[in-house]
């Protein structure tokens, strides 16, 4: 009986549809992006790649004394051996010199032209979907009601942090709302990381550079923009890992159902059961 009482309509249809389009587009963008990165596996800081400064990150390969290829990754001048994953990895069973491994890229084999085709097609979907999401969230008051932290939220940051570390999750009525850390994380993703990664992507386009010559210098220059574009992609991936982890430990099926049918069963509040 209790189950029906506790059934709560959590996500509206547009939110659910846009969420899954985003999941789909994000992974295709990430993996085609890694294939694009492989065409020049280095990140620089400055207006161009050749500015007299070494790259901040570089993935390369060399020949070992035994004749086998060694993959290396250099970050801020520190070099690490990353054979098997970065620099040198198996492609169709044989060690191949490439930045990211074939299991992480679209297409798998080296194919820059096709990766660009995937990346820019899904970029349009990603950006339009994001714009609809922000527009809908403002119009439907989803943003004000569910995402912007309240005064109570602001006071409960410490407690929320402790709850997360102890894997304690809200129950009963409290589970109807996002907790404050969740709200802040979503806001950072929606209003910092996603617009940021899009802007850094635009900054690499010679045509978009020309619309307002010099605007990319705000980001440190064209070659600089490529660096946060890459870093933001991995911050978003980190968000996805944490997000999926929280989804799993707070009730995989319940959470998954709420993002598919909209219905979420409130976890019983011990005090009333």
């Amino acid at each position: 009986m209790a189950t029906n009482d506790r059934l709560y309509y959590r996500h509206t249809l547009p939110i659910r549809v846009m969420h899954w389009i985003n999941v789909f587009a994000f992974f295709l963008m990430l993996m085609s992006g890694l294939q694009i990165f492989n065409a020049h596996p280095a990140l620089n800081w400055g207006k161009s790649s050749y500015n007299g400064k070494p790259p901040v990150l570089e993935i390369s390969s060399s020949q070992g004394s035994d004749g086998k290829a060694i993959g290396t990754t250099t970050i801020f001048g520190h070099t690490f051996t990353t054979t098997g994953v970065l620099g040198v990895s198996d492609e169709d069973g044989s060690p191949t010199e490439r930045g990211f491994p074939s299991w992480s890229t679209i297409p798998g084999p080296q194919w820059l032209a096709m990766a660009r085709a995937w990346h820019f097609f899904f970029a349009w979907i990603f950006v339009l979907n994001g714009l609809f999401y922000v527009g809908y969230s403002i119009a439907s008051r989803h943003l004000r009601r569910d995402l912007v932290p309240s005064a109570t939220d602001a006071r409960s940051i410490g407690r929320s942090l402790k709850d997360h570390l102890l894997f304690r999750h809200p129950k009963g009525e409290a589970a109807k709302q996002y907790n404050v850390l969740q709200k802040l994380t979503y806001l950072i993703v929606i209003f910092v990381l996603l617009p940021g990664i899009i802007l850094m992507g635009w900054a690499m386009s010679p045509w978009l550079n020309s619309l307002w010559p010099g605007w990319i210098d705000i980001l440190g220059g064209r070659q600089s923009a490529r660096t946060p574009h890459f870093v933001f992609a991995f911050l978003l991936l980190a968000f996805v890992f944490v997000h999926v982890f929280e989804v799993v430990i707070t009730g995989l099926w319940n959470n998954l159902r709420s993002m598919i049918t909209g219905r979420y069963v409130l976890p019983p509040d011990d005090r009333h059961e």
């Binding site: 020049h40 050749y50 500015n51 074939s102 299991w103 820019f120 349009w124 045509w207 020309s210 990319i216």
Partner: protein, 255 residues
């Protein structure tokens, strides 16, 4: 072996298997005609977005000498191997003639001295390679708009095709590229004969290379020998308007 480790192994295998199937699926899509046609919709949208925002008015960023890269990297062909080109280079390009033909009222045949006599432009710009690197250099050359004004394109002419002396293929296909009239008449579009205050070196496209500053490097044909004005790209190379375009790269390389 305990339960949880075998479950972990099963889970790992399941994820690997599903992932592998999805990736193979993506690679099959990359080889299918309908899917790549769908992806190409993005290029049309980019082109439409360009037309809505930029066209002839917008200018590529220009830099100061302090921003210039220590040396301008050579990419693609570094020294065309054809005997004709080698002969021209040996004579310091004194016998070089840039042929301008196709849909024009006045076909031209210009020496380097003729090109240097045309209205010129100097610009310090950034070269963005499709691979992801960039370099800043000073270019000096003849304005393509001035050259076209001399040749008088017919109203039917929609594109300028650049035929080059270099080949990236074993079969000897010569490099070719094309741009539309908007870009051809853009203020920063030049046929560069100087790089960083010196004569354009062979490794960078001597005697003349194209600069189309609002697009990627592969549009900027090196070793330009002949300009052809056409109304359609259907008969140029494989029909996509350029050497790399025929390998699947976008014709509009503003992104």
């Amino acid at each position: 072996m305990n339960d949880s480790s075998s479950r972990r192994r099963f889970l790992f295998r399941a994820v690997t298997l599903v992932g592998g199937v999805l990736l193979a699926g993506c690679d099959r899509l990359s080889r299918s005609a309908w899917f790549t046609r769908m992806l190409a919709v993005a290029e049309s949208m980019n082109l439409a977005a360009r037309s809505a925002t930029a066209n002839r008015i917008s200018m590529a960023q220009e830099f100061t000498e302090t921003d210039m890269s220590p040396s301008f990297r050579s990419n693609g062909t570094a020294n065309p191997s054809s005997p004709d080109y080698q002969r021209l280079a040996a004579a310091d390009f004194t016998d070089y003639r840039l042929e301008v033909g196709g849909q024009v009222q006045t076909p031209l045949s210009l020496s380097l001295a003729d090109l240097r006599a045309l209205p010129d432009r100097t610009q310090i710009t950034r070269h963005d390679c499709v691979e992801g690197w960039s370099a800043i250099a000073k270019w000096h050359g003849a304005r393509l708009s001035a050259l076209l004004a001399r040749a008088q394109p017919l109203p039917s002419a929609k594109y300028v095709v650049f035929h080059c002396a270099d080949s990236l293929d074993d079969d000897g296909t010569l490099y070719y590229e094309s741009i539309d009239m908007e870009d051809a008449n853009h203020e920063q579009t030049i046929l560069a004969y100087d790089l960083n205050d010196e004569k354009l070196p062979v490794k960078n496209g001597a005697p003349v290379r194209l600069r189309v500053e609002r697009q990627l490097g592969y549009k900027m044909a090196k070793y330009v020998m002949r300009l052809e004005l056409v109304d359609s790209l259907a008969n140029v190379g494989g029909g996509n308007g350029g050497y790399w375009e025929d390998q699947g790269y976008e014709w509009y390389a503003g992104i």
